[in-house]
Symmetry: D2
Subunit: 432 residues, 4 copies
């Protein structure tokens, strides 16, 4: 199981609809953002276009859920895209037409699902595909998502339970889905008394993907995933979340250093602990209460976020509404040398980790990437000895954002960093 | 609120269907047991006949629940007795005909409900009485009973929520209900992270009873109720449970001493912390897996149970299927002097409480009741000094079960008690 | 045990040195405050003069402790008053001379101790009185006070352990001690994993007092005491704390309403759940960092504190440095009618208890005391129906602070209360 | 810090006195076991001879501790070997003579210490080396080892605290110590409310070792170490414990599979999560209550233990009293091919992990080691597909214990394993 063929040999890069559209994304919005991706970001590796939560809810329009809403569903208890929001899905075509358009752009297509079976299927007791059991037979009456009323969990000890999950992924494969973000399946905060209680459903989804005949990236959400399940997560999923939903707040960004320092040994070889979407640029465009906003992180903080996500090798999923993207935001996403650290780094790890500072290193074929972070609220000078990186001597380093050349002094680097600021350096291998 | 007129000036005494019929009690069984009560036990104060859980579930027949079962319900989302099980309830007459028969016997009638609104009402979005809101508008999508799938909790912050509860108790009042056992409303074990989360629903039910025009005893279940909510419980309910379901096991009986030692100061003045039903005689007559059984407690243990329930002033609700009741069981229920301790005691409290022994006292107009308990597994001699009871000297005592006269020796009593055994003594007031 | 003769038939009233002198009280300060008590407060019932923590530490001068300080100790491992701070204690006379002076004033004398045996006794392995065992034999190497390094706990399973405690109280009895506040013995916050771990030491101290030949009030500290141990506390102690140290902050005062609503049934018959000292007037006179201060509560809040402590029947221990007491503070302590509610009330309890309001009642021979509290930050009108107090109709009420007569309107009282304000009313019994 | 030069490039192998001598090891016993090591085990890599707890306690003789015992100590508050037990330590020579003898055998020498400063030093307030502060100035009055009364923790925020630790390791370096097992420093079970509270002391000891001028392996004890501190442990220590004390019980051995499955990514590059000593052969020779015993694990279980420790790459510290070692035990310790998996494996990890089975793999330059484990209580057939190991096809495998050749069938291995049994296979690289 551990050595299954991995669907994501490097950290997945792409775009996700949640941060900008909430539960209310539309076909038009998906394709518009896909077009932007194709034109501006695909050359840098951004290729997944992921449609987030509640595409099956006709009335979903923003960040709010409607409790007990009536959902679009086929005769086999499987949710379908709401045709009023995704017109090409009419006549039971599902996401196939959209996936096809996205594939034609050279991109890949992903969807979000909540684990489980629709509550409406259970109360109507509808059929399942490939089994004589019906919806009530496999539902767990007491297993709920704690923030959305669409689903009941599936009791995997019941006959027909695996058949149901198999039928889901068979459908998604027929649509051409390349990436599935499964939600309400992996956290320790919502249900501290039942940590990792969806373990069997994770395994069932793994099996369903392996059987569906199409390669799909499996992304688990939300976090924090339990560290002591690192092996099980590695064995079953391609990426999983370190935290609850990440947003554009320094406090959450600062906390991510703690999470990365716990999870770094589990990253690599096709398994990607996930720092969550990058809330950059235009966000929350469907938020009716507060309205659209721009990323609230300072530029230094945004760069710090990119540096941490890249050197940690987190998946990179852009959360912005891409239309009218400003130059600075675009520049953060198109620095090939920094992205190479994300895609090609090896044995990335902290070499220093305190409440005020962090230093990470990662190994590239031709040198070493080193990121220095100032977590404090004040400007701060960081000094770094060659030995701390395992080096005998420092080569001249390059700042991968500014291109500047940085010379060591007495076999140490010393840099002044803005509050919440950071640098990403490249140190070439020295000739022996 | 604290000084509302109390519906139960003394601990309620009666019979409940759960221990013998589970979820599968029928009209016939109710009336048969009521007839026994009238003939044999009513003279001793046993007067409530309580129909326990799922009288609205046509297929309920034993101790098991059917997840997502279809329930009998009126147009206002209110559950109704299943006519196949309660024939007199046909044509929308509900429990009125049964209540009338029971009243005619000189008895009182009680029902069990689960807090909340039927899940099926919510998913069908049916109407409510007295409000334009509908079932979905007041349901809490995340508030579940942890062992039965019939209901969603009601979110009392919603418009129409109180109207719904008012409509329930209006219906029960119209049926002639005298006692309501509300379940899934009061415990700390099932949801340790949300202790007493149904607080607002308790208050809503209190209001609904006060408004319904009929006096009803309000019994909260299951336990353990949270001790720190003693005031709130006293202010809103007439009785509430100290533990989870009590059964005929010494371990549970022994544990009840711990609970009683915590709760005794909250008992009295119309508020009755509740040790749960008395699982005596024939039990579990509908249990398909294990079949009917007789109470598994030894005779000493059964007497210990009666002594503790009586001196603590717990409600006394018989759990037996009364038909063919044996002599010993009947004798436990018809000792007027012991029952007087339950009904008329005052300031009952432990005077000694260790892992091996317990001594309780309670004050009667003409003397003092004193119960001595041997909690250990071996025969044990208990000695009791007059001072420990607050007495200067011991009068001659009477054993209320045997009638025997017990003389003190050197101002102390000394008694040998069988393993798990006990005595209930009466000490007359001494002439001054 | 429960019916032992009670040393405090009504809530103890007096003065304690902690709030004003910390660990640094002196003989002079004790006697000076005693003199004030005698002159101004004794007529109202304030009679205990209690010397708080570390009277055995020569260098103690303020609120700080000196870790591992050398302590004054007799040959039997018993701590003695430091003669440099208590000159009359020289030559082994201990507190006897001070107690005598205080008794001569018509007052009673109390001391503070920490449970356990001095760490210095253990490491020096000194002798014990009345047993061949030595200090090391009875100490528990892992039972520490979490904020003071003077003591190890005593392991009551060891031979000699009870003899040690007996020897302590024999000494205190010989000094003439009337009140002992035992610290580090009763809380759930410092050691949540070991709740009530000093249970055996509480019992040992109870026994030692019963044997010492002198009546002493036993006060346990700090809190919060565990509610589920209410019976054990009642059986062994005369008063015990509801909270950690109380100080002159509204937040702590507001929280006391929650604690009182939990503990009220345990109060009465010589057992007094304790709201802690009254931090009125001049406080912290030995505090070297912040200096002396006046009570930071507003006058309304101070009155609210008095009303709550009085109607709840808490012990009343004044924390002020009494010299130069202002008129207002003195007036709070000398209202005989309000103090009568504290000393003579019966069945005191909340009748309303929400986050914004509280209403308490208590029964006096000639009428009822009713306190109305505004817990909110805004002026607030409270309305109270006669039925809520269990009355059929309201009599004219008297405000016990202003003497004002308050007339009901349509069988209800309605009063406007300042933020954090309150009233204490007296409602005379109505002629039948 | 992360890249400091590592003292243990491969998992340390050696012998420790705890399992056989408890706190009562002597010079004679140390040297006798060292001689056995030199003769029989050194050729296989076993080289550390570690003297475990309380070598400074003159009266220590078995597995019990004497609370508050008087300890051998120098003028600078540093503990010294008790000369009555270690005669060569007389005249302040400490462990230097023993270390020299052990070095002369070609072995390395280790000692055990408890973090902190002797309580007796604190209560006597003795001096420290290299600072004017004294013992009381640096001790933490509330930081205790929960099972041994010798020490107080050191408060690293105090002046002189680092100097004290520096003085300890300076002394140990002067003795010739190569390995230090620091106890009471790394667990989450004893103090769940203060997890990893000795973090600063761990860092202080790291600094003291780095400064002492001698390379020493730093081993932290007891466990379970907190998984979320994996980075900090890696940065500061060479090995740390996964569990509390391991003993010869199947339940503990079975549980070790869970721990290994959590910690495997942190193992390698000079950091060795530690499964604890191997309780093989003659154990507990000083146990006065139960007497000496032989390892209680079955032979299958003993082999399973060796296989798990080896493939996980745990340190290997023998717990046996080596004299009269039986042939089977010796054979477990001298299988060079199995030990090579421990010393040279790379990227070791579980590929299957359930309650009944475990399969691990590890990579060697010339092939792959694969261990199959039957955790169940019954004989069990395990089947393993080539793909599960990341192989396209199976080569013929060799059983490293029996030497037997095992042929795959249809590209899968299938083996029957005894209850609690296991095999360690070697799969040679296939020619391309």
């Amino acid at each position: 199981m551990m050595n299954r063929k991995k669907a994501a040999p490097t950290p997945p890069m792409g775009w996700n609809s949640w941060d900008c559209y909430g539960a209310g994304v539309s076909e038009q919005a998906l394709l518009q953002n896909a077009a932007f991706l194709q034109e501006h970001l695909l050359p840098y590796g951004w290729k997944y276009v992921v449609c987030d939560i509640q595409w099956y809810e006709p009335a979903a329009a923003d960040t709010r859920y409607h409790p007990f809403a009536d959902l679009c569903m086929d005769e086999y208890s499987r949710l379908l895209p709401a045709p009023n929001r995704f017109p090409s899905a009419a006549d039971g075509k599902g996401f196939a037409p959209i996936a096809e358009k996205i594939h034609d752009m050279g991109l890949l297509f992903g969807i979000h699902i909540l684990r489980g079976i629709p509550r409406q299927a259970v109360h109507r007791n509808t059929s399942l595909l490939g089994t004589a059991q019906k919806a009530r037979d496999i539902a767990s009456a007491y297993s709920l998502c704690p923030w959305n009323s669409d689903m009941y969990g599936v009791d995997m000890s019941r006959e027909g339970a695996q058949a149901y999950y198999d039928s889901l992924f068979e459908l998604y494969a027929s649509w051409g889905v390349d990436f599935v973000k499964v939600d309400d399946i992996c956290n320790t905060e919502y249900k501290p008394a039942e940590p990792y209680s969806a373990k069997e459903e994770i395994e069932a989804i793994r099996r369903a993907i392996d059987r569906c005949g199409r390669e799909m990236v499996l992304s688990l959400s939300p976090g924090p995933a339990p560290l002591e399940q690192g092996w099980h997560l590695s064995a079953n999923a391609d990426m999983w979340r370190l935290t609850g939903d990440f947003w554009d707040e320094w406090e959450k960004l600062d906390d991510m250093f703690e999470r990365c320092a716990r999870w770094y040994p589990f990253s690599g070889s096709g398994c990607w602990p996930d720092c969550d979407m990058l809330p950059l640029g235009r966000l929350c465009v469907t938020d009716r209460r507060h309205g659209e906003r721009l990323c609230r992180l300072t530029r230094d903080e945004q760069k710090t976020m990119m540096n941490l996500w890249c050197i940690f090798r987190s998946p990179l999923m852009l959360g912005a509404a891409t239309e009218h993207m400003d130059e600075f935001t675009l520049s953060l996403l198109t620095n090939g040398q920094v992205l190479r650290v994300n895609q090609e780094g090896k044995n990335q790890r902290p070499v220093r980790h305190t409440g005020d500072e962090a230093v990470w290193q990662s190994f590239l074929p031709d040198g070493m990437a080193v990121a220095l972070f100032n977590r404090s609220d004040k400007e701060r000078r960081l000094s770094l000895a060659a030995g701390e990186l395992g080096l005998d001597a420092f080569p001249a380093a390059t700042d991968l954002w500014s291109g500047e050349r940085i010379l060591p002094h007495k076999n140490a680097l010393s840099l002044s960093l803005a509050p919440h600021g950071s640098v990403m350096l490249f140190l070439p291998n020295m000739q022996e």
